[in-house]
C-alpha cells in the first residue's frame, strides 16, 4: 500500500455522504452462481491503478476464508472474487481495510462484448487477406505476366473470399438493413463498391485480363474496419467506466414478515403492503408510508430540494430518497414498477420518443453521395457504350469509377475524428456514450442546468465557521462525527482542535440532532427548538442558519451554524465560458425560489424557474425546442431524467441517479463543472474537422473521378489514390490532439483545478 494512496488521485467521491458498505445480502443478490456452491462476485474498485494494487488486493482477498481466488482487471478497474459456501466472505470490508473503496454494480451488464470480439476477428482476417493479396499484387504491378499473373490473380481471389464473407459481412448486413428500411447510410456504397470490385476482378481473372482489384476491395475493408473497431472500443470504454460507478438505486430491502422473520428481497419482488426495514444510510426502494421511527431524508436526487426533510410516523416517503439518520420501518404502498422511479422512466421514454430523430452527418452526406456516385458510374457506362460500343470495356470503366469513388476516406472521415475526440474527453474524465452526441453538442445554443447536485454539489457547507468560537466548533465537530446527516458532515470537517472537554455517551435523535455529555454538561447539536430548550438567546442567537442548527450546553445556545449548498468548483467560470461560446444559460430547479435566486445571482445565470416538477422541466425544454433552439440539458436527479431524455443532448455528473446516468449522452467523473465547456469546445472542434475531412474526401473524388471516367485507372493508381486520401483524412483528425496540447500550454487555468491531467496514460 506504500506507493498507491488510493483515492488520492481520482477526485471522484461518488459515494460521498452515502458511503455505506453493501450488506452481505446485497452482495449475495449481485453474485453469480458458477455451479456447485461456487459463486462469483464482481466489484468495481475505482482506485486500483498499479501493479502493487493488484498484488495487494489479490493476495489479501485470496487469504480470506472460503475465497477461491480473486482477479483484478486494471482496464475496467474491477475485481472478481470467486467464493464458496452460503455466507459471503467479508471481502468488501477487507478491501476497505486496505484503503480501497469497493462497490457493486449491475451484474447484468457483465456479458461479454460480442460485437467487439467479432470486429477484432474481422480486422484480423481482413488484415491477413489484405497483406497477402498486396504481396501478390505488387508482383503483378512489377511485371508478372501470362500464366504467373493468372495464378496470382486466382490465389488472390481465393484469399479474398473468407475476407469478404467474414469481414465484409458486417458491412453487407448493415447496408441491407438500411436499404430494407428505405434509408441510406455510408455502408451502402461501401458494400456495393467492394462486391462489384470483387465480381469484376473475378470476371477478369477468368478471362485472363490484366487488371484485378482484389487488393483494393480487401484493403478497403481492412482500413474501414480499423476505424470502426477503434470507434467501438472508445465508446465501450466510456460505457464500462459509467457502469462501474456505484449504484445509487436500492437493490433490495429487508422485509419484515408477519411471523417476525426477516428476508432480504430484491426490489422487483417487493409488493404493496410489505413491511420494510430501512437502516440509516440506505435508500428507500419503493414508495410507502412510515409505520415506525423517524428520520431525516435526503431528497436531493428525487426532487432537487437541497435541505434534508424530517419525516415521522405516518408520512409518505418516495422511492429513491436516502435515509440519513434513524432506522425506519415502512409499509410499501406500491411495487417498484409503479414507484416514482418507474414513473420517471416512463416520462423519459415518452420525451425521447417525441424528440426529433437526429440524422448523423455521415448519413446525411452518404444520402447525397451514393446516388451521385452510382449515377456517375451509370452515365460513364452509357457514354462508353455510345462512344465505342464495346460492352466489356464500358463495364470495366464504369466499375473502375465505382471503385475509385468507394468512400474509403469518407467512411473514415467521421469515425476517426470521433475516436480522437472521445479519447481527449476520456482523458479529462468525460465519458461519451453515443457517437452522434458530439455532433449534437456542437450545435447547441441553449444550456439548461438543474441546480441541486449539478450547479451545486448537493451537500451543505458551513459558511460562518470563522465567526464561531473555535472551542465550540471543535465540540460540535466531535459530536457531528457521530452522524450521517449532511449538516453534521459539514461540521465534522472542522475537527482537529484539541483541548475541548472530552465528550461521551453520544446518542442521535433522528429528526432532531445529537446529544452527548461531558464534564457534567449536556451538549446538544441540532434543531434550534430542540437543542436550545431553555434559551431565549445564547451568544450568537441572532444568526439563524438554514434550518436553524445550533450547539447548546444544558439547553443554552452557545453557537449557531449557517449552511449553504456548496457550489461545484469552477461553476462560475464554466457558466462564463458557456456564455462566451454563445450559449444562453437557464436553470430549472425543483428547489425553492429563494435558494434558486441566490445561486443564479452568484453564477450569473440569465433565467431560472424554481419549484419545477419533472414534467414541467420537460415542457420547458420542449417549448425551447419549438422556438428553434437546440438544447443541452445538464442534470443529475431522478426528477431531471425525463428532461435529459427530452433535450437534444444531455450531460450528467457521475453523482447522478442511475437512470439519469444511463440516459445522458455524456457523463463527467470529476467534480469541476468546467467539463461542460470543455466538452462543448472539443465537440465543436471535432465538428469542424469532420467537415474538413468530408471536404477532403470530396475534393479527392473530384480529382480522381475524371481520371476514372476517361478510363485511365489501373489497380495501382486506385490503390495509391485510396491510401493517400485515407492517410490525409487520418492525419487531419489527429490535429485535434495537437489543438488540445497547444491550448493546455497556453491556458493553464483550464487544467489547474478541473480538467486535470490524465491519471494514467494507457
Amino acid at each position: 500500500m506504500s506507493c498507491c494512496a488510493p483515492g488520492a488521485e481520482m477526485a471522484l467521491d461518488v459515494a460521498g455522504a452515502a458511503s455505506v458498505l453493501p450488506s452481505s445480502q446485497e452482495i449475495k443478490l449481485a453474485s453469480r452462481p458458477l455451479g456447485g456452491d461456487l459463486y462469483q462476485t464482481d466489484l468495481s474498485v475505482p482506485a486500483v491503478h498499479c501493479a502493487a494494487c493488484i498484488q495487494t488486493i489479490e493476495t489479501a482477498i485470496g487469504k480470506l476464508n472460503r475465497v477461491e481466488g480473486a482477479r483484478v482487471s486494471l482496464s475496467t478497474k474491477r475485481v472478481s472474487v470467486r467464493w464458496r459456501g452460503d455466507e459471503v466472505p467479508s471481502f468488501v470490508a477487507a478491501l476497505g481495510r486496505l484503503g480501497y473503496q469497493a462497490h457493486l454494480f449491475d451484474p447484468v451488464i457483465d456479458e461479454k462484448d460480442k460485437t467487439l470480439s467479432e470486429l477484432i476477428r474481422a480486422v484480423a482476417v481482413a488484415g491477413f487477406a489484405a497483406g497477402n493479396i498486396m504481396l501478390l499484387s505488387v508482383s503483378v504491378w512489377s511485371g508478372a505476366e501470362g500464366a504467373t499473373r493468372d495464378l496470382f490473380h486466382w490465389i488472390s481471389a481465393l484469399i479474398a473470399i473468407p475476407a469478404l464473407a467474414f469481414a465484409g459481412g458486417i458491412y453487407f448486413r448493415s447496408a441491407w438493413n438500411a436499404l430494407r428500411h428505405g434509408r441510406m447510410n455510408m455502408d451502402v456504397p461501401i458494400a456495393v463498391g467492394v462486391s462489384l470490385a470483387y465480381a469484376i476482378s473475378l470476371y477478369e481473372t477468368i478471362n485472363h485480363g490484366d487488371h484485378a482489384y482484389f487488393d483494393a476491395s480487401v484493403s478497403l475493408l481492412f482500413f474501414l474496419l480499423i476505424g470502426r473497431t477503434l470507434d467501438h472500443v472508445m465508446r465501450e470504454r466510456a460505457r464500462t467506466a459509467v457502469k462501474g460507478l456505484s449504484r445509487l438505486a436500492a437493490r433490495g430491502a429487508m422485509v419484515l414478515r408477519g411471523d417476525g422473520m426477516r428476508d432480504y428481497l430484491p426490489v422487483g419482488e417487493i409488493e404493496p403492503g410489505m413491511q420494510l426495514l430501512i437502516a440509516a444510510g440506505e435508500r428507500i426502494p419503493v414508495d410507502g408510508n412510515i409505520v415506525e421511527g423517524s428520520s431525516d431524508l435526503d431528497c436531493s436526487l428525487v426532487s432537487g430540494e437541497s435541505t434534508p426533510r424530517t419525516v415521522a410516523l405516518g408520512e409518505k416517503v418516495q422511492a429513491g430518497t436516502l435515509n440519513l439518520t434513524g432506522p425506519l420501518t415502512m409499509a410499501a404502498t406500491a411495487a417498484a414498477k409503479d414507484s416514482f422511479l418507474a414513473e420517471m422512466v416512463r416520462l423519459m421514454e415518452a420525451a425521447e420518443g417525441s424528440r426529433t430523430q437526429y440524422r448523423r452527418i455521415a448519413d446525411r452526406v452518404s444520402a447525397l453521395y451514393a446516388p451521385v456516385v452510382h449515377l456517375t458510374a451509370f452515365l460513364t457506362f452509357l457514354g462508353w457504350m455510345a462512344a465505342t460500343g464495346d460492352w466489356h470495356k464500358a463495364t470495366t470503366i464504369a466499375i473502375a469509377v465505382l471503385i475509385i469513388t468507394c468512400p474509403c476516406a469518407l467512411g473514415l472521415a467521421v469515425p476517426i475524428v470521433l475516436v480522437v475526440a472521445a479519447r481527449r474527453l476520456f482523458e479529462s474524465g468525460i465519458m461519451v456514450k453515443d457517437g452522434s452526441a458530439m455532433e449534437r453538442l456542437a450545435s447547441v445554443d441553449t444550456a439548461v442546468f438543474d441546480k441541486t447536485g449539478t450547479l451545486t454539489l448537493g451537500r451543505p457547507h458551513l459558511v460562518n465557521a470563522s465567526s464561531i468560537d473555535p472551542t465550540m466548533l471543535a465540540i460540535a465537530a466531535d459530536m457531528a462525527a457521530h452522524s450521517r446527516h449532511p449538516f453534521s458532515r459539514a461540521i465534522a470537517g472542522f475537527a482537529g482542535f484539541s483541548g475541548q472537554p472530552k465528550l461521551e455517551s453520544f446518542s442521535e435523535y433522528p429528526g432532531f440532532g445529537i446529544e452527548a455529555s461531558g464534564a457534567g454538561n449536556t451538549w446538544r447539536l441540532g434543531r434550534r427548538g430542540w437543542a436550545g430548550w431553555k434559551a431565549r438567546t445564547g451568544g450568537e442567537g441572532k444568526l439563524s442558519g438554514s434550518g436553524g442548527t445550533v450547539l447548546s450546553r444544558n439547553g443554552i445556545i452557545s453557537a449557531s451554524f449557517a449552511f449553504k449548498d456548496a457550489l461545484r468548483p469552477d461553476a462560475k467560470a464554466a457558466i462564463e465560458q458557456l456564455k462566451d461560446a454563445g450559449l444562453s444559460v437557464e436553470m430549472l430547479s425543483g428547489d425553492t425560489a429563494k435558494a434558486c435566486s441566490e445561486v443564479a445571482e452568484t453564477l450569473g445565470v440569465d433565467r431560472f424557474v424554481p419549484a419545477m416538477l419533472p414534467s414541467g422541466k420537460v415542457k420547458q425544454i420542449e417549448t425551447l425546442a419549438k422556438d428553434g433552439h437546440k438544447v443541452l440539458m445538464v442534470g443529475d436527479g431522478l426528477n431531471d431524467t425525463p428532461a435529459l431524455g427530452a433535450a437534444d443532448v444531455s450531460i450528467a455528473p457521475a453523482t447522478a441517479a442511475d437512470i439519469g446516468r444511463n440516459a445522458a449522452d455524456f457523463v463527467f467523473l470529476r467534480e469541476s463543472l468546467l467539463a461542460i465547456p470543455f466538452a462543448l469546445d472539443v465537440s465543436r472542434k471535432a465538428g469542424r474537422l469532420i467537415r474538413q475531412n468530408i471536404a477532403i474526401a470530396i475534393i479527392y473524388n473530384a480529382v480522381a473521378v475524371p481520371i476514372a471516367i476517361l478510363g485511365h485507372v489501373t489497380p495501382l493508381i486506385a490503390a495509391i489514390a485510396m491510401s493517400a486520401s485515407s492517410l490525409l483524412v487520418i492525419g487531419n483528425a489527429l490535429r485535434l490532439h495537437g489543438f488540445a496540447l497547444a491550448e493546455a500550454t497556453s491556458a493553464p487555468s483550464a487544467t489547474r483545478s478541473g480538467i486535470r491531467a490524465p491519471v494514467q496514460q494507457s
Partner: protein, 51 residues
C-alpha cells in the same frame, strides 16, 4: 517459376499461422485486460513465505 510452388504455400502458411495465433490469443482472453497485463510483469512471483 518453380520456386513459387514452394514459396506461395510457405508464405500463406506462415501468414495463416500468425492469424490463427492471434485468434487463439483473443479467444483465451489475453486481450481482456491489457493495462493489467502491462503492470503484472512487475509483480514478483516467488512463493517463499518470508524473505
Amino acid at each position: 517459376m518453380t520456386t513459387l510452388v514452394y514459396l506461395l504455400p510457405v508464405a500463406l502458411f506462415l501468414g495463416g499461422l500468425g492469424l490463427s495465433g492471434f485468434l487463439w490469443a483473443l479467444r483465451s482472453g489475453q486481450y481482456e485486460d491489457l493495462d493489467g497485463a502491462a503492470e503484472r510483469i512487475l509483480i514478483d512471483r516467488d512463493d517463499e513465505p518470508e524473505r
